[in-house]
Assembly symmetry: C4
Homo-oligomer: 357 residues x 4
Amino acid sequence: MTKNMVISIDIPSGLMGEDNTGNISDNIIQADFTLTFQFPKISFFFAENEKNLGIWEVLPIRLHPDGIAQTLTDFRLIEKEEIQQIIQKRSRFGHKGTYGHALLIAGSFGKMGAAILASKACLRSGAGLLTTHVPHFGYQIIQTAVPEAMASVDQHDSIFTEFPDLSHFSAIGVGPGIDQKTNTKRAINELIERSKLPLVIDADALNILAENKTWLEKLPEKSILTPHPGEFKRLVGETENSYIRIQKQIEFSKKYKVIVVLKGAFTSVSTPDGKLYFNSTGNPGMATAGSGDVLTGIILGLLAQGISSENAALAGVYMHGLSGDLAVLQNSEFSLVAGDIVKFLGKAFLSLKSGSK
Amino acid sequence: MTKNMVISIDIPSGLMGEDNTGNISDNIIQADFTLTFQFPKISFFFAENEKNLGIWEVLPIRLHPDGIAQTLTDFRLIEKEEIQQIIQKRSRFGHKGTYGHALLIAGSFGKMGAAILASKACLRSGAGLLTTHVPHFGYQIIQTAVPEAMASVDQHDSIFTEFPDLSHFSAIGVGPGIDQKTNTKRAINELIERSKLPLVIDADALNILAENKTWLEKLPEKSILTPHPGEFKRLVGETENSYIRIQKQIEFSKKYKVIVVLKGAFTSVSTPDGKLYFNSTGNPGMATAGSGDVLTGIILGLLAQGISSENAALAGVYMHGLSGDLAVLQNSEFSLVAGDIVKFLGKAFLSLKSGSK
Amino acid sequence: MTKNMVISIDIPSGLMGEDNTGNISDNIIQADFTLTFQFPKISFFFAENEKNLGIWEVLPIRLHPDGIAQTLTDFRLIEKEEIQQIIQKRSRFGHKGTYGHALLIAGSFGKMGAAILASKACLRSGAGLLTTHVPHFGYQIIQTAVPEAMASVDQHDSIFTEFPDLSHFSAIGVGPGIDQKTNTKRAINELIERSKLPLVIDADALNILAENKTWLEKLPEKSILTPHPGEFKRLVGETENSYIRIQKQIEFSKKYKVIVVLKGAFTSVSTPDGKLYFNSTGNPGMATAGSGDVLTGIILGLLAQGISSENAALAGVYMHGLSGDLAVLQNSEFSLVAGDIVKFLGKAFLSLKSGSK
Amino acid sequence: MTKNMVISIDIPSGLMGEDNTGNISDNIIQADFTLTFQFPKISFFFAENEKNLGIWEVLPIRLHPDGIAQTLTDFRLIEKEEIQQIIQKRSRFGHKGTYGHALLIAGSFGKMGAAILASKACLRSGAGLLTTHVPHFGYQIIQTAVPEAMASVDQHDSIFTEFPDLSHFSAIGVGPGIDQKTNTKRAINELIERSKLPLVIDADALNILAENKTWLEKLPEKSILTPHPGEFKRLVGETENSYIRIQKQIEFSKKYKVIVVLKGAFTSVSTPDGKLYFNSTGNPGMATAGSGDVLTGIILGLLAQGISSENAALAGVYMHGLSGDLAVLQNSEFSLVAGDIVKFLGKAFLSLKSGSK
């Protein structure tokens, strides 16, 4: 083992910028630092290359803006300027109806916290109204913990089996903590068939989809799926490496006309037109229980206001990470809990307007 | 579309200061900014004129105070100095009885948050004591969330059907989240007939009134009704525009001898003597679930202390907006939730005494 | 009505320093300000003299300390230096057993908030352990709201009817929110007979005592009663004025060998040896629901640690007011709620050590 | 009694540095201050010597580092540098699975707060996921208070009698508030026999062990026991003094191959290899209800992430004290409650990285 520090310029020798399938890892330089030119390469966002890249940083080399603009690519980094365009100042005369009415279907016996966290996140992302649908045993919990949300109560004591009239809602999210019982599967199927709105689909709802892949064809167009890598694997099968995984992600989005938010250190968002975006915010302290529920709530809240599915997914992912980045400064990577991410959403939206990241 | 910035002086050409009924909108200048002399005109407070006015600001032109005082008008702006007169320093020897005992009737199955938010707002607006009447299934929720309130529990599990002996109370509020079931209607009717105190009437209680307009005649004098535009429409029917709507508001107040708080970007408060006040505080972040419940709580809390109905309505509307204005600085327009408005009430009351707005 | 400001020196002409019984109020100067020499007079602490005194302040005139010390009086002001003697730094090797185990009996159906507030206050005043005894319907409420307290649960659903083995406890408090049902009265009687420890008795427990005055003889010596003026009247009957009321308070303390904490703007504490202390902290914002429950919790928490009844009452009253004085700076007199007093207890104890009040 | 201040240099005359068994306390100097050379002696950490030592401080006398390193000792002080080695920065690509899934078995009827406090502490110490197993009556309480935890619900209403499939978990903690009913004892026995992971064992689980000492032989290797002195006495019998007590602690650790965390002013941690560590953080304000539950949660959270039992115990004890030291600055020794220790964990982890203690 060398004692010298290894700094790679642009990219460690042997590492490809995109696909490293078949590349023998031991033959690639293991850098302590990588200083890369103008843009991070796609392979920089993959866990398996961390040992080769070390800590990486981008060095601007003054490529000509026109050159950049004319270079076509389906890969983008989600950055502040873009999100600022999506998150616009509100009109003076907006009222709670202007900002939509979200329906969140979440929680089951033992997993009611998912409903609490997603509900709070939805309300703190700007939805005008929120109805959270919970099983009967979750009624007091959600009403005590989230007074701003209305509760719709399932006839079933412990799981999701039915849903209210969908015509009242401007956005629908389903999945956090709902478990995978038979009657829940039936209700998910019915929801997919009945909904005229794109759905935000997370967690157990994704696992149910993975077991019933024929339902994928019936998903409302522009629905947003938010799998973590384990859930994604259940949907598309094993993938050899991260590069092939994002290829599958893009294919999936195109095939089913949905947005896929593949959660990870650099969350990737794929859209039906074949584009893929890597997120630039977030930190390892966010790898904590309920963090995904918060993301679902944020995306749902943005969608409810009339923001498009693509933009809600991009801004949701970015704001989730940004809020976590602000929260970790007060709470440390060890102590950060999902509720902290919700608490810092206000500061995150405020910081969007300001000059700093 | 012009590329030049349009600045209107006093008022955009073609826009009337009050009534624009029949005025063809396309023929009116669409300014980016309007700099108006000494006072905003009434039409500035209406949503439909926003596109003509752009951002407006008042330029003092040193009109003589006597001139102003001698110009009779039924329209006023609610401003800080006026509210300071209403919200006076407390006597050293006041006790909790001095500040009254409020009764709040709120909440139903699935909408208990309305009771929580209104209760907290009432207590943070200075009521000495508060009893919140809730359906049986709301019992644990209210007692856990608002320890300072006593609970009166309906014999019905999920809705409001009866009320406690009214003689103990110095102010009564009803409506947030109560739903509109048959037995609730019956209870509302009985409450109106029995109450010797003016009532604060909000939300579903207003919708019940709208369905039973003959009950309006029986409303205790100086009751305060707090409709949003949709609820107001149910009470008085469709109105062609905002100007005609405030005319109807004034008529309604005079006819039924009640105060009407018509909620909106510039909330208007009409009184039985035919006056109408526009509020000067608040922001679009307050267009969020539960915001109206908080307002009801504030007005109820002020009323309980012996402040007159007119003054409680004016100060309530102003303090609600002021608290929201302080809250939005920490939470952003997107992330502000109704509970934040409650939390900033203390700072809002403190800021009344200070030099700044 | 005079337009000139009236300043009284030492005391407004016509006002007696102590007893103003029979004094004709209209014949006494009504000052705007009173500048009094060296000490406030007893009559300064009475509500009925506020209109004569206006705002008063003490002017030190350098009376000789020996002269002061040699002047015998049964009346004292509770001041910081005295409380600092009572609230001592803890030993490095103390453990939770060192600081005692308090039993709080509080709450009934609809009044569980009293149990929450008193429990939190007790824990934040230094008790090592706390068991809160609540009716069955209060179980989930207290355990959710106050995780640091253990719950003892009554067999009765909605009221207090029995108590746990008293031998485990170092201090016992009873009364906040317990209501006055027959079985509760029976349980209070039994508690008085069985307890070998002085009791802290508040609220409904006082009202029960007032209805059963023969039980007063059986009160454990050095018990602490915390009536507000209404409750005190039920105990001793109507009193003509505040001066006569404190005479009755002193008599009561001597007769029953108890400490009486008569709550008000200047709370007075009387002890079995005939002394009476006026409190110097507190503000009108504290005239709010649950404020008394917090006081009961503080006194109980101090008593549990082995502080004497007299000192626990004096320090409890002082700390309650001091915490309220700190809380009001952040919350205003209007918005202060009882929970705020609990929250500022830590700052209040910290401020005891520092130079400022 | 002397009026002169007594300062001992290195150690008060007559006091031994380790064992004072048989030493006549009255013959030992009672210092007000002790200034000791380079290291505190073992006897400094014992309550019975506080009166002899007064306030002690360490004076560095520049002993040669090599000399220190070569002096073998089984006694160590837990200090910041050591804990910094244990608490490492997280990898960018960690996910919630990386940080493990903890199982906490805690709470019983009337003692659900223990489950809340330990759960929150576990989540704020970095566990990726947490399942808290509670009796049926504790279900709503834990789900309302700790949304980030999943709940596993016992079939028994009020106590612990069974546990979920252990194969899902990376760390298991048991004991806070579980009571000692027969069926709980049976479940503890079964847990010990079935667990392939070391257990964190606290409170009532320790008392059950003390009644069934034959089970000690079956404890999973490297389990962590966290008794306070009373619980420790039940395990090993009466000990004459603190020195003999730590000897027994070391023996116990060696015999049963477990880590023992003996809680006190200077918590001592003994390991199976015969070493003993004294903690250097903490304060008397932490002698409060629920403080031990928080410690159990912290150790469990660290263990879940894959930190070794020894290191989790050492770091847990240190972080618990450090968080309490930060919390007491805001809350005072009197007002500190266990929940405050949880709240300051984030600041404590942050402060580990910084230069200050």
